[in-house]
Structure formats: C-alpha cells, structure tokens
C-alpha cells in the first residue's frame, strides 16, 4: 500500500501557483525531467527542484533516476485523502436523502 500524505500537506503543496504549474505539467506528461520542466517555467532549475521535492513529500509525484536524469511522474493516489472524504460524504448525503424521502412518506399522515 502506498502511504498518502495528510490533506493539509497536499493542500499546502498545491497552494503555491508556481508549484501547482509544475504539478500540472507533470500531470500532462507521462514522465518528465527537471530540465524539461524548467524550460519555459520562468524559474531556475534549482527552484523547480525545490518544488519537486515538496510535491514528492506530499505524495503527489514520484521520481525515477536513470543515468544522469531523474524522471518525474504523477502519483495518482496523491489526492486520495481529500478524494476519500469528499466521495464518502457525496455518497453519504445522496443515500441519506433517499432515506429521508422514505421516512417523510411514512410520517406524513
């Protein structure tokens, strides 16, 4: 089982606009290197590396070293904590409304 980070770590990681842009570019590609991410990002490679570190610690991306390069890819389970709660309550309330409908029918006499 892949460990997921707490919601606040994920939210913090995605709160920074530059970091979010980096994350979005990783999402948009199969695998991508720091050099490729730096191109057209408007920030230095060092800054991109720092953002990647935060994203990695938040469990949003994984890295794969190969030769002189490190490839980054999205870890889909990264957003799981928030997805879990929201899906849980999405289902919860829809089901409860169905139960409420049944109950109201019973007591409306």
């Amino acid at each position: 089982m892949i460990e997921t980070a707490p919601i606040d770590a994920i939210m913090r990681a995605l709160a920074d606009p530059t970091r979010r842009a980096v994350f979005e570019r990783i999402v948009g590609s199969e695998e991508i290197t720091v050099a490729e991410l730096t191109k057209g990002s408007g920030v230095t490679q060092g800054a991109v590396s720092q953002h990647l570190k935060s994203l990695r610690l938040a469990g949003l991306v994984t890295e794969r070293p190969e030769g002189r390069n490190v490839y980054y890819r999205v870890q889909p389970q990264g957003l799981a904590p928030l997805v879990d709660w929201m899906s849980h309550y999405g289902v919860f309330w829809r089901e409860r409304f169905a139960d409420l409908r049944t109950l109201l029918k019973e007591i409306d006499r």
């Binding site: 707490p6 919601i7 948009g28 829809r94």
Partner: protein, 153 residues
Amino acid sequence: MSAVAQAFETREIVVDEVFPHAPELLWRALTDGALIERWLRMKPTGFAAKVGTEFTFQTTPAGPWDGRIRCEILESVPNRRLVYSWKSGDECNVGYGSALSTIVTFTLTPATGGTRLMMVHSGFELPRNETAYTSMSGGWKTVLGRMAELAGE
C-alpha cells in the same frame, strides 16, 4: 468534468431535492432526535435546534479517531434554515478519518408541490489555504479531471 472534480472546485457537496411535503414536516425530520436517527442513520446525542447547542453523532472509528462527529448549531430558523458545524477525524489519519472541519447547511424553500430541501456540506479545505483555493484557475479543473481518470474513478 467528473463529480469529484466538481466537488473539489467548489469545495462543497450539494444535494438539492424537492419533497412532496410541507416545510413543517421536513423541519421535524431535521430537528427531532428520533427522526434524525431514522434517516441520517446515526443517533444524535444532545441535539436541540437551538443556536449554540453542541451535539455529537457516533460513526465508524478510524485509527486514533473515535468515530465521533462533533457538531454545534450555528443557525436555526424554524421551517427555513438549519446550520451546524461538523467536525470529525484525527490529524494522524489519512483519507477517511482524517481531520475535517466542515459546515452542513439545510435550506428549506416552498416549491411547486412541496418543499425544496438543499443540503450544502461545505468547507472541505483548511482555512489557511483559502487564498490559494480562490486563486486556483481553470487549469485546476483539468488536473483534477485527469487525476480522477488516473485514479480509475
């Protein structure tokens, strides 16, 4: 856009339906402890539809979380509006059971043939991230849509 992405975008869950009954009856179902238990499937302890009243629901525990949902009535306007806070989870947990501080709002409005009940469960966020969320662009939607796909939603 998937339902999950939609929910993320707005940070709230909305269920909005019309029931063929009078607002008074819906209000009773929302504010009578025994009736709440029958449709919410959780027994409220200490419930009273009075602002400031604190009550709890007991649900499935997870890790260090005892499964207790702590609530407080924030607004109560008979037959019209009921708002309570909904706090659950523990900071040590992830996913289901992680710390959550949210608000549940029920709004009743007369509708053709009955009463419209809108439930909004809001606040799926941390207060300090409000600015970050507000600044999120359309690109965010795309990301979440793609994430949901990858996660096999």
